[in-house]
């Protein structure tokens, strides 16, 4: 089976191509903001089945970003039949810098000039035949979000893959090329080229560029080799009077610019309304006003759509319960299992799904239009004050949907410290499940104003917690370098397939836990074990002035947050919670549930992303915050 790999810089439309051909069969371990771990799918094209892989967007083949390093490792490790190098045609000059590095890998390659319409609007006319001739590779033009040119692209890719025609590198200036050649000869005498499975020249240029990943691997065992490399680096520095990495990167830059100038004819760019959008949306005053309006509309849309479906769906599930009670008997074991399953299903389908779907749809829309990076730009000033930078806003916004993808989205941040702090903060943002608690308890029993207060209070607490964490780890963040892409009109097909991919992940991780959780609770009740748990938790419930019977719901809140509320009704044995809990108790309970210990699914990704020690820290940290704030609420509210 042929293996096709999509490689390209961020925002080049790579994932759009993937989503177009992969369809619902795609498997991915990512769903947040960007393609971070790779997505994979089978596709059948003209009767041939092949495997298509969408790698994380990489600006360069030099490792300094987690996702880029993973992309490169994949390219070096896997046996790939053909690489499709996707380039945003309107940014051809910059895109070619990655292409030049890919050429050094000697893999069968096809160039895909995507968003060719975009380039023409900008007044960039590309002579594709000439480009193809200069690079020695086939060049196909596409407009991925319309699906235009994709057939030809894959047809060409198959041909190249079958012939397995290897790409050839282009040469730099003579003096620089000589040093690369000398170093390549030196590498030939060692087994590093085989060890890393890369061509000599690729390894030579990367070593001259001081590539940390390669150098670290060699450093521990072979200082002699490193010393020799430093000798060659020194030669380059002598040639050009600047550091060797700068020499290589500027050589590559010049070569790309040369290529660009010889294949591009510039004409007058067309005037468009979207060019003026940023003068409002990124304006120092109107920008923030628009942001507030857009976020208000976004969350209104989510809750409006969610509310339409929530009640009828809940009614649908709960109508089975009296029926089951009648036929199975209220005290039977089977009835408890059935009611557990029904409540688990109801929680997933009727409470979370109605909000998660519109949320993910709205988010995909903001993402595909290109608005999210503008949000990061606007928020940089504020996030700077709590020791993070603008990009951290993306995981934080995602947190309002589901914490699991939000934690995964922290990978877009460069420094480990920023990823850690942002991960902990996202767990404190109310996810769809906790938002339903705020709505179901606070808004329902205490009024909408109290609910708005909870949301604002939460933001203040997150900001303060951010400040505390950055003071504990006072490292200077590398600062924001963020591309602000042009606005696009998103395609509905792509939006839906994105939403589907993310939902699938949520369903796989969360639903089984949800159903198991509610069955276990039902069984505990059947055997009357919940009293024992309530006793265990009683120090907390007593401190917070809550009924002792709610103890068990707090344990289940860790399994799935919305279980805390769903099971509150069960635990208290009333349908109207206000008859069993006072206003203060309802508020205290909500504040505690809002902040304490992340849910199991979140803990699982936290361990994966930041390690078990730091996850433990996150648990203790959020638990303490919840305890302190809820105690204060008890006496103040």
């Amino acid at each position: 089976m042929m293996k096709i790999t999509l490689v390209g810089q961020p925002n080049c439309g790579k994932s759009t191509i993937f989503n177009h051909v992969a369809g619902y069969k795609a498997i991915t371990s990512n769903f947040p903001g960007k393609t971070v771990t790779y997505s994979i799918s089978k596709m059948t094209f003209q009767g041939m089945t092949s495997e298509i892989v969408d790698l994380p967007g990489s600006y360069s083949m030099t490792s300094f970003d987690l996702a880029e390093l993973e992309a490169r490792k994949y390219l070096l490790r896997e046996k790939i039949d053909v690489v499709i190098n996707v380039i945003d045609a309107s940014l051809l000059g910059r895109g070619l810098e990655l292409t030049l590095q890919l050429l050094e890998l000697n893999l069968p390659t096809v160039i895909c000039l995507n968003m060719i319409d975009e380039a023409e609007t900008k007044g960039i006319i590309i002579d594709t035949d000439k480009l193809s001739h200069l690079l020695g590779l086939p060049v196909v033009t596409t407009i991925a979000h319309k699906g235009w040119g994709l057939n030809k692209l894959f047809e060409t890719a198959f041909k190249v893959g079958q012939k397995s025609a290897k790409s050839e590198f282009l040469t730099f200036s003579k003096d620089v090329e000589q040093v690369i050649k000398d170093l390549s000869e030196y590498i030939k005498k060692t087994d590093y080229s085989e060890k890393f499975n890369v061509p000599y020249r690729f390894l030579a240029t990367k070593l001259l560029e001081n590539d940390q990943d390669f150098i670290d691997e060699i450093k521990n065992t072979d200082m002699e080799f490193i010393k020799a490399v430093q000798g060659y680096q020194h030669q380059l520095e002598q040639c050009r009077d600047r550091s060797s990495d700068e020499v290589i990167s500027s050589e590559r830059h010049h070569l790309s610019m040369q290529l660009y100038e010889s294949v591009v004819k510039l004409s007058k760019p067309r005037k468009e309304i979207r060019n003026y959008l940023d003068s409002v949306l990124m304006h120092p005053v109107f920008g923030y006003i628009s942001l507030a309006v857009i976020m208000y509309l976004f969350f209104n849309f989510v809750f409006y759509v969610g509310a339409i479906f929530e009640e009828p769906l809940l009614d649908f599930f709960y109508q089975f319960l009296p029926f089951a009670e009648e036929t199975l008997g209220a005290d039977s074991l089977l009835y408890h299992i059935v009611s557990g399953v029904v409540q688990g299903l109801a929680g997933g389908i009727a409470i979370v799904l109605p909000f998660l779907f519109p949320f993910l749809l709205g988010l995909a829309f903001l993402e595909d239009t290109g608005y999210l990076p503008r949000v990061a730009y606007l928020m940089d000033t504020f996030l700077h004050r709590i020791g993070l930078h603008g990009k951290a806003i993306i995981p934080l916004i995602l947190g309002y949907g589901c914490t699991v993808p939000a934690v995964m989205a922290t990978r877009i941040l460069e420094s480990e410290r920023d990823r850690f702090i942002t991960s902990v903060l996202t767990t404190m943002i109310p996810c769809a499940a906790r938002i339903t608690i705020i709505f179901g308890l606070v808004a329902f029993y205490l009024g909408p104003r109290a609910a708005i207060f909870v949301f604002l209070f939460n933001i203040v607490v997150v900001a303060i917690a951010g400040n505390i964490l950055s003071n504990i780890m006072p490292e200077i963040t590398p600062g924001m370098i963020l591309e602000i892409p042009a606005y696009h009109v998103p395609s509905i097909k792509i939006l839906l397939s994105k939403v589907w991919l993310r939902m699938k992940e949520f369903i796989v991780i969360a639903w089984p836990l949800l159903i198991v959780g509610s069955v276990v609770l039902s069984l505990l009740q059947h055997w009357h074990l919940e009293e024992f748990i309530n006793q265990l938790i009683s120090p907390i419930t007593l401190l917070l002035g809550l009924p002792v019977t709610v103890g068990v719901t707090l344990i289940f809140g860790v399994l799935r947050k919305e279980l805390s509320m769903v099971m509150l009704v069960q635990a208290l044995g009333v349908t109207n919670i206000s008859t069993a809990m006072s206003a203060t108790q309802i508020m205290t309970f909500t504040i505690f549930v809002l902040f304490y210990v992340p849910c199991v699914a979140t803990l699982a990704v936290l361990i994966k992303e930041i390690g078990s020690k730091r996850t433990l820290f996150a648990i203790v940290f959020t638990f303490l915050i919840a305890l302190i704030l809820a105690t204060i609420t008890r006496f103040v509210y």
Partner: protein, 76 residues
Amino acid sequence: MVVSLTDIKSGSKVRVARIRGGLGIRQRLSCLGIHPGDIMLLQKSGFMKGPVLVNIHGNQVALGRGIATKILVEVE
């Protein structure tokens, strides 16, 4: 005259003279097409210590305050 990017008024065209700082920042900037010698347009200088927005080779890039101070430029 060589000054830091944060000391420039919005709307000026500048040439990158030098990038202060280590390998990491140089590489990250070069990925987005910012190299010494390149010409870029400062679209928005930062307000309230916020990021600056530049247009480089027809592409918009936002640079945090800390990064922007490390980019030394000459006004064209």
